[in-house]
Subunit: 254 residues, 2 copies
């Protein structure tokens, strides 16, 4: 079982879009995938056609109230792709969790039961470096950082790198990370300049795959389906499939 | 003194871009403006040329540690535009504030001293409906909600409307709100459709001004200057100036 946390403090950099698309691509290749929504906005749950109003048990029941409900993992309409949904309650994590000792390990402990059940677990984090992102990074083998080639987005990497250092010291020494450039617009001069700048600063820390802007991704979210089912011929479908291949090669080498 | 909170749980919808641009437009018209950065990402501080590494006192000193430092308000390089900066410490608010009774009123109380000093106070909120956004909405006369015409962005309005109801009941009955459509791309069919949909659902709750996509806004942020100084002839300059006029008319009517 290989756990990937998708995190970035910056908002709107395609964390949820990447979790949905990458999860679906790995599932399509036959791997058993569990995606977990850790965001009170519940966008991942929406993107997979699941409205939080209809759900009685969510990720908050694992991390906050610990009622250990049976019906928390949902099969999505896609083969090999399961989901633990979220709703607004996970937004209360910062209030209730940090006072508990070893709260950082809650998700890692919960996931032990799935070691032979899933090949990949992907965690969609909220735009906030709080208790939930700490828990996700403690449970993860790899932190994948979707980043736009925009000034604020690149600046956000500082706080995130501080957190990575802290996590490696305190709760998860094995954590690796990779940047993934998203929403790239090759006609945009600023994008080309910041792309070079990121390659200079991060070099081998960057995925080779770049995800370019594609309006079909937005359409697929309205339809509640991953891009590879909604628009299999779209550019973003091929790019997310290339990302899945690159992740598989990375996992096999490490 | 009229206080405007700029909030939305959804990430990357132009909260910071709107705070910077609207604040600068009102200052250019001769109004005395204080903008307050409430986000641990400190993007507003960056957009006004102020790096959080160089700042010793931040908004966290008002809301969390309460050291009441003298040097907390900075003059920006623009006439009539002052800034209270942020850094990562304001991200700890959810842990420390909700346990304090009446924490919701901290900013409102702090701002009393400026009633005759500033005409407008604008609050840039983080993408998270926690203690900080609650404090901002309690202090505000108007909640301005930048929203993209994208599915997840529109969906985020639900949680936000719940919070507005709660705030009106508990801590601030006078709170009004308006939606502001941002990053609008008129060539995008989905944008046109969701724009109509928002107009049907919110009608008079929408600002008339719409802010369209303009790559100059991104360039101005790299330069650390508001758009009306960086690219005064750009489309987004005129649109944010129109927004400032619309806000002034709204304030005079209410
Ligand atoms: N490659 C792309 N091309 C075009 N639009 C995209 C692309 N990737 C994501 N988007 C759109 O950008 C918006 C933001 O994406 P998304 O919600 O996945 O970001 P996020 O980082 O999860 O945001 P948040 O910080 O709020 O959780 C969505 O409306 C999404 O449809
Ligand atoms: N009208 C626009 N046209 C083009 N780009 C824009 C526009 N408005 C904002 N942007 C860009 O979109 C990105 C997100 O904007 P911004 O950081 O202001 O959003 P935010 O809501 O404050 O994000 P966060 O939730 O992370 O605080 C920035 O890179 C900004 O330069
Ligand atoms: Mg998301
Ligand atoms: Mg912002």
């Amino acid at each position: 079982m290989y756990t990937i946390a998708i995190a970035n403090e910056k908002g709107g950099v395609a964390k949820t879009t990447t979790t949905t698309s990458l999860g679906a691509c790995l599932a399509q290749l036959g791997h058993r995938v569990l995606v977990i929504d850790l965001d009170p906005q519940a966008n991942l749950s929406l993107a997979l056609g699941m409205e939080s109003a209809n759900i009685s048990s969510t990720v908050a029941d694992i991390l906050i109230s610990q009622t250990n409900p049976n019906a928390i993992v949902h099969h999505t309409s896609l083969n090999n792709l399961d989901l633990i949904p979220a709703n607004y309650q996970i937004g209360l994590a910062d209030r209730y969790l940090p006072v508990q000792s070893s709260y950082e390990y809650k998700l890692q402990k919960y996931l032990q039961q799935y070691i032979d059940v899933y090949d990949f677990v992907i965690l969609d984090c909220p735009p906030h470096l709080g208790a939930v992102t700490t828990i996700a990074l403690t449970a993860a083998d790899l932190l994948l950082i979707p980043t736009q080639v925009e000034y604020f987005s690149v600046y956000a990497l500082r706080n995130l790198m501080d957190l990575v250092r802290k996590i490696r010291h305190q709760t998860n020494p094995r954590l690796m990370y990779r940047l993934l450039i998203t929403m790239y617009d090759r006609r945009n001069k600023i994008h080309r300049i910041l792309n070079e700048h990121l390659h200079e600063s991060f070099n081998s820390g960057l995925m080779n795959t770049i995800i370019e802007t594609d309006t079909k991704l937005r359409e697929s979210q309205i339809a509640g389906k991953p891009i590879i089912y909604h628009s299999p011929k779209s550019r973003s479908s091929s790019q997310y499939q290339a990302l899945a291949q690159e992740i598989l090669e990375y996992v096999q080498e490490t």
